[in-house]
């Protein structure tokens, strides 16, 4: 399902999918927007979609969360490779 990527010297990047709210005009609103973005997401609500480069069984691929609709997904974050635990 994930698409294979061509890999060059530039580090491949991904990120959230879908337009974020435009920056608010006054700073107070901006702060609220920022807080909202950084807060914890809620159970029972949609998982934010994203694309991310990945290493999958010998290949470099691009993964999009929404490609996994119809399946159960465990999405795990961790501090870093080689961090012991």
């Amino acid at each position: 399902m994930p698409e294979e990527m061509k890999v060059g010297c530039a580090r491949p990047t991904g990120g959230p999918v879908g337009e974020k709210a435009k920056p608010a005009i006054n700073s107070e609103e901006k702060q609220i927007t920022q807080q909202k973005e950084e807060g914890m997401i809620k159970v029972g609500q949609k998982a934010p979609d994203f694309t991310a480069p990945a290493y999958l069984k010998g290949k470099f691929v691009s993964v999009k969360l929404s490609e996994y609709l119809g399946k159960w997904v465990l999405l795990c974050f961790y501090p870093g490779d080689f961090t012991f635990v």
Binding site: P2, G14, A47, P48, V61, L74, P79
Partner: protein, 132 residues
């Protein structure tokens, strides 16, 4: 998913993880440069510049059914994550008619919430059932 590049993921998988588990990592090792995805999921640690141990269960509709977040020094329990997914799958298959008591595993009794069960859970389930 971590802030490491896919190149570092490859080295970690090929040089260490594949020595711990045959065949290496069978799923996609995602890269999140700058923690952009971790930030929208609320688990990116800005000060340290890394993701914390966040684990999200996402159902077939793309809805987050549960999450757990740990600080870096303590590892997760994959058996518990699998147990939770199995419980959510069971509840989903029952179309919400059943609920799973604490520690539930496939094959164990479930609860059927309704007027008759109010105040009567003790008759059908006790913590000792977890150990059966």
């Amino acid at each position: 998913m971590s802030v490491d590049s896919v190149f570092v993921h490859k080295m970690w998988n090929d040089n260490e993880i594949s020595k711990m588990t045959e065949g290496g990592v069978p799923f996609a090792m995602l890269s999140d440069a700058g923690g952009k995805v971790g930030t929208i999921y609320g688990i990116y640690d800005d000060n340290a510049g890394v993701e914390t141990r966040g684990r999200f269960i996402i159902d077939p509709d793309g809805v987050v059914q549960g999450y757990e977040v740990l600080t870096p020094p303590v590892g997760r329990n994959i058996n518990e994550s699998i147990r939770q997914v199995q419980a959510f799958q069971h509840v989903r298959n029952s179309k919400g008619a059943e609920a799973t008591p604490s520690g539930w595993k496939p094959g164990k009794m479930t609860l059927k919430p309704g007027p008759d069960l109010v105040g009567n859970v003790w008759k059908v389930w006790t913590p000792a059932k977890e150990k059966d």
